[in-house]
Every structure is written in structure tokens, then in C-alpha cells.
């Protein structure tokens, strides 16, 4: 056992973990903002919505569906030219971000839309009957009333993003995926792969615990 453990370069593991955390947190933040925007637009432009607009709804829905359907590993490859222009390189954690965000935001947008649909229409109507404008309805009704679902959706998305970072790692983005694949699999040191896996699991559990805590705390139903 000691022999196996000795093989592990702990500094490298720490570095890889930090990279994964970096990629995950930046992409979760961007996914949240972009996904909220797209999800709100999907909800508001849908039939019977405040900004009912078939054309806009169709375009956003098409965009969301297409990017949600492309397998992530293919999406990264497809986005290589775009990433080059944006980041200037194909390697490193930053180079993974565009693909991570474009892959996860449409997924979260759908979850946001579903969460907003769950809101009782009567509550929106009540706000309208009090003379609320659209801005007030969005920030005082739609978001607070769907908050638990928005948070639990973000938790699921964040966990997907952790696994996306691992995939991105294999083709050069760094992080725990990269560490497990290059240092572990390719050099035939299965102990390293195992340790990297455990590190990812711990990360996922932490995200889940934090997500569950806030979902529960915001749910007053």
C-alpha cells in the first residue's frame, strides 16, 4: 500500500484539484447567469407568457435544444476554432471554459424554464393586479418563488460540470481528469486514477451537500 501511495505526486494532485475547482466554479457562475437569462426568455416568450413571442421563443428553444443534444466531447472539438479566437490557445483550464459554459448553459436554461413553469399562475396574476411591472414580477415573484428549484437545478448542473471538466481534461485542459488520464491510465498507475476519482467524488459530494442545504433553506412551502 505504502508503495502505491508513494507513487502519487501529492503536489500534482493538489494542483489538479485546484484546476478542477477553478474550471467548475467559473463555469458554474457563467452557466448560472447565461442559463437564467435563456431560461427566463424561454419562459417569458412562451405561449401565455408576459412577452409572448413565437419567433424569439423558437430561436432560443432551437439553440438550447441543439447545444444540449451535442455530446460534450464532440462539442469541445467543434468549438476549437471558436475557443482559439476567444482564449488564444487550446490548452489549459481557461481554454476549457467556453465549451463548458456552452455545453451546460442550455441544460440549465431548460431547468430554469421548468422551475418557472411550476410557479402558480395565480401568483403572477396577483402581482399584475397590484400594478407590478415586468421587472418587479421577474425579481420579486418569478425568481424568489422558484428559488429552491433554481438552486437544486444548479446543483445538478454543477455536478455535470465536474464530469465535463474531467472530459475536457483528457484533451488538454488540466484538472483531475487530465491527471487521472495522463498520470494514471497512460502510465499504468491505477492507484493514481483511483485517487483522482476519489478527489472528484469528494468534490461532487460537497457540491451536493451545499446545494441541498440551500434548497431546503429557501423552501418555505
Amino acid at each position: 500500500m505504502d508503495e502505491f501511495l508513494a507513487e502519487i505526486k501529492w503536489e500534482k494532485l493538489m494542483e489538479a484539484t485546484q484546476e478542477t475547482i477553478y474550471m467548475t466554479s467559473i463555469s458554474v457562475l457563467a452557466t448560472f447567469i447565461l442559463g437564467m437569462l435563456l431560461g427566463l426568455l424561454l419562459f417569458l416568450t412562451s405561449k401565455g407568457g408576459l412577452w409572448q413571442n413565437g419567433a424569439v421563443n423558437f430561436v432560443i428553444a432551437a439553440f438550447v435544444n441543439i447545444f444540449r443534444s451535442i455530446p460534450f466531447i464532440i462539442l469541445i472539438v467543434l468549438l476549437i476554432p471558436f475557443t482559439r479566437v476567444l482564449v488564444g490557445s487550446m490548452l489549459g483550464a481557461n481554454a476549457a471554459l467556453p465549451a463548458l459554459i456552452i455545453g451546460a448553459a442550455p441544460f440549465y436554461a431548460r431547468m430554469v424554464e421548468i422551475a418557472l413553469r411550476e410557479i402558480d399562475k395565480g401568483v403572477i396574476e396577483a402581482a399584475q393586479s397590484m400594478g407590478a411591472n415586468h421587472f418587479q414580477i421577474i425579481f420579486k415573484v418569478l425568481i424568489p418563488e422558484s428559488l429552491p428549484a433554481l438552486i437544486s437545478g444548479l446543483t445538478v448542473t454543477a455536478i455535470s460540470l465536474v464530469s465535463f471538466t474531467a472530459m475536457a481534461g483528457v484533451i488538454g485542459a488540466g484538472g483531475l481528469g487530465h491527471f487521472a488520464y495522463l498520470e494514471g491510465f497512460q502510465r499504468n498507475r491505477s492507484m493514481i486514477t483511483l485517487v483522482a476519482t476519489i478527489a472528484i467524488l469528494i468534490l461532487v459530494f460537497i457540491i451536493q451537500i451545499i446545494g441541498d442545504y440551500f434548497t431546503k433553506r429557501t423552501d418555505k412551502r
Binding site: 402558480d120 395565480g122 401568483v123 396574476e125 396577483a126 402581482a127 399584475q128 393586479s129 397590484m130 400594478g131 407590478a132 411591472n133 418587479q136 420579486k140 415573484v141 424568489p144 418563488e145 428559488l147 429557501t218 418555505k220 412551502r221
Partner: protein, 341 residues
């Protein structure tokens, strides 16, 4: 306060259009409690929703508190809505906010500064009798308490008109009465004009000054509540009036009695206003050599006086019976012979 003029609302569907509201004309006075009664699908819900612009009439005009609700839009409509509050069958509270924050919500919308908001919320909480519950969430309240929050919320911006959309239909009878009493109290104290829609005649009887009966999108009958009770013209109105005056089992009882008393006559008397308080029965027995048997009776209070029905059985000589009935008729009491024995 409210003028509804030739209002029609048509919904288009694939199989043609449906007239939800059909050429309705109503004038509602300031400080009045006006009820609209009808079965579901009669168009009453569409009608009340047009009063605050949640629905826009296809034709006609609606004027509420001096504003043409049917023709204004955007910021003007939102401003007008602050003076036309609404309460709902399912309360429509924000579950994410406490009682106090729910009541503060319309104040936030109106841009009232925080200090003033807190002050106003305090007043409203004690007005609707929710002291001590300000930090509870709606999920912790009973139906009646939730509607109290709804009412406090509706009153927050000192509206001129309160619209009640089946506000008591989801509540049990006792809670319904408590909420209705609160509405009457508010109407008297604040001089608020109240428009309510319902399918329960009990609600109309208890708090309304005037009532309109809706069927198939049209108002088929309207007038002061007592008058409609006394003299319902349409079949549908008679059925609604029966909800209150004639408990379900009355008909069965009458049928049973008719077989039990083969002689004499069963008569339904209708008392309205002062007539309900005269010693008619004593006089009847004293003046005519007949026997009087009281079968069933009920007196209901309305906002403009009391209203009663009494079923009696009369027996005696035919000539005396005729005279007795003529005597009752001369006392401003409605007489209807149910059946000859």
C-alpha cells in the same frame, strides 16, 4: 364608481368564437357591495377580471374610479390597478414571503419607503386580526388566515375598489362567515366599494346590497338583494334564492306532509322586511275558526332587511280557508298555495 357599458368579451377558438360576456351594462355606486352570482362558465369571472384590466373587453367600455380601464395601458394601467385591488379564491400569496412581507409586497410595488411600509403593515395586520402571525409563512396558516393576508395585502395601497373573485369558495362555512363579516366591516369603516362574484347565494344574502344574476354571459336579472329574494323573475334566480330559503330537505318534508294531511291546504308564506316581524300567526288563529300547523320556517338577514319563508298547513271549512288566505295576502306577505289537500 364603476360603469360597465355594453361590454362584450369574445374568445376566439379553433371551432369558432365564444361569447364569455355578452352586452353587459352595470352601474355600481360608491361604497356599495355589489354581488354577481352565476354558475361556473356564466362569464362572471371574465367580467370581474375586466374591471382591473386582466382581461380586455372586445367591445364596450369600463370606467372604474374615473379611469377608462378598458382603454389604458402600460404605466397608466399599473397605476390604476393600485386603486383596484383583488382577492382570489386560492389566495395567491407568495409562499416565499412571510405574512408581513406578503402584505408589504404591493407597497414595494408602489414604491413606498421602507419605514412607512413597516408602519402600514402593522396597521393592516391588526385590521384583519392577524396579530402575532406576522412572521409566519403562508404554509403555516389556515385557509381563513391566508384570505385575511390576501385582504390585508389588497387594502395596503388604500384602494377605492376591492374585487373579490370567489374569495370564500375555498373556505368552510364558518370561515366563510368570518371573512364575509370582515368584508362588511371594511366596507363600513373605509367606505370601500366591493364587487364580488360567487356561486353561493348565501354570500350574496349575507353581505351584498345589490345583486346581478349572470347566465350565458348576460345579466338576466339585477336589483337590490331583498327585492330579488322577494320576487325572483328568472328560473335561474329562483334556484339561487332557493339555495338560501329552502333547505334541500324542505321539498321532501312538504311531500311527506301532504300525504299525512289529506285535508286542508299547505301554504308557503314569504315575509320581506317589516312583514317578517308582525304577529301574523296569532291574528290568523284568533280571527278564523281554522287550525294552523307550522311545518317549517326560516328567516334570513340580508344587508337591506330580513327575509323569511314559512310553510304552514291550514285546515277548516273551505270558506274560512279562503278568507284566511285573503287575510294573509292583505298583510304584505307573499302567499303561494303549494297544494290542495
Amino acid at each position: 364608481m364603476i360603469t360597465i357599458k355594453n361590454v362584450t368579451k369574445t374568445y376566439g377558438s379553433k371551432r369558432g368564437s365564444v361569447k364569455a360576456v355578452d352586452d353587459v351594462n352595470v352601474d355600481i355606486n360608491e361604497g356599495e357591495i355589489f354581488g354577481v352570482i352565476g354558475y361556473s362558465g356564466a362569464g362572471k369571472s371574465t367580467l370581474i377580471r375586466m374591471l382591473n384590466g386582466l382581461e380586455i373587453p372586445t367591445a364596450g367600455s369600463i370606467n372604474v374610479a374615473g379611469r377608462e380601464i378598458s382603454h389604458i395601458k402600460g404605466a397608466k394601467l399599473r397605476k390604476a390597478r393600485q386603486e383596484i385591488s383583488m382577492i382570489f379564491q386560492h389566495f395567491n400569496l407568495l409562499w416565499s414571503r412571510t405574512v408581513a412581507d406578503n402584505i408589504a409586497f404591493p407597497l414595494e410595488i408602489a414604491g413606498v419607503p421602507k419605514k412607512k411600509r413597516q408602519q402600514r403593515v402593522k396597521e393592516l395586520i391588526s385590521l384583519v386580526g392577524l396579530d402575532g402571525r406576522e412572521n409566519a409563512y403562508p404554509s403555516q396558516l389556515s385557509g381563513g388566515q391566508k384570505q385575511r393576508v390576501g385582504i390585508a395585502r389588497a387594502l395596503a395601497n388604500n384602494p377605492k375598489v376591492l374585487l373579490c373573485d370567489e374569495a370564500t369558495s375555498a373556505l368552510d362555512p364558518q370561515t366563510t362567515d368570518a371573512i364575509l363579516e370582515l368584508l362588511v366591516d371594511i366596507n363600513k369603516r373605509l367606505g370601500l366599494t366591493i364587487v364580488l362574484i360567487t356561486h353561493e347565494m348565501h354570500v350574496i344574502r349575507k353581505i351584498c346590497h345589490r345583486v346581478a344574476v349572470m347566465e350565458g354571459g348576460r345579466i338576466v336579472e339585477a336589483g337590490p338583494v331583498l327585492q330579488v329574494f322577494k320576487n325572483p323573475k328568472q328560473q335561474i334566480t329562483k334556484r339561487f334564492v332557493q339555495q338560501v330559503t329552502e333547505p334541500e330537505e324542505t321539498r321532501d318534508t312538504i311531500d311527506h306532509l301532504l300525504t299525512r294531511y289529506p285535508h286542508g291546504q299547505v301554504i308557503q308564506l314569504t315575509f320581506v322586511g317589516d312583514g317578517a316581524e308582525q304577529p301574523l300567526m296569532s291574528n290568523l288563529i284568533r280571527q278564523f275558526p281554522i287550525t294552523v300547523n307550522i311545518l317549517q320556517g326560516k328567516i334570513s338577514q340580508t344587508q337591506n332587511g330580513s327575509y323569511g319563508t314559512l310553510f304552514i298547513h291550514l285546515d277548516g271549512e273551505e270558506k274560512d280557508l279562503k278568507e284566511a288566505i285573503a287575510f294573509i295576502s292583505s298583510h304584505e306577505v307573499g302567499v303561494e298555495v303549494i297544494s290542495n289537500g
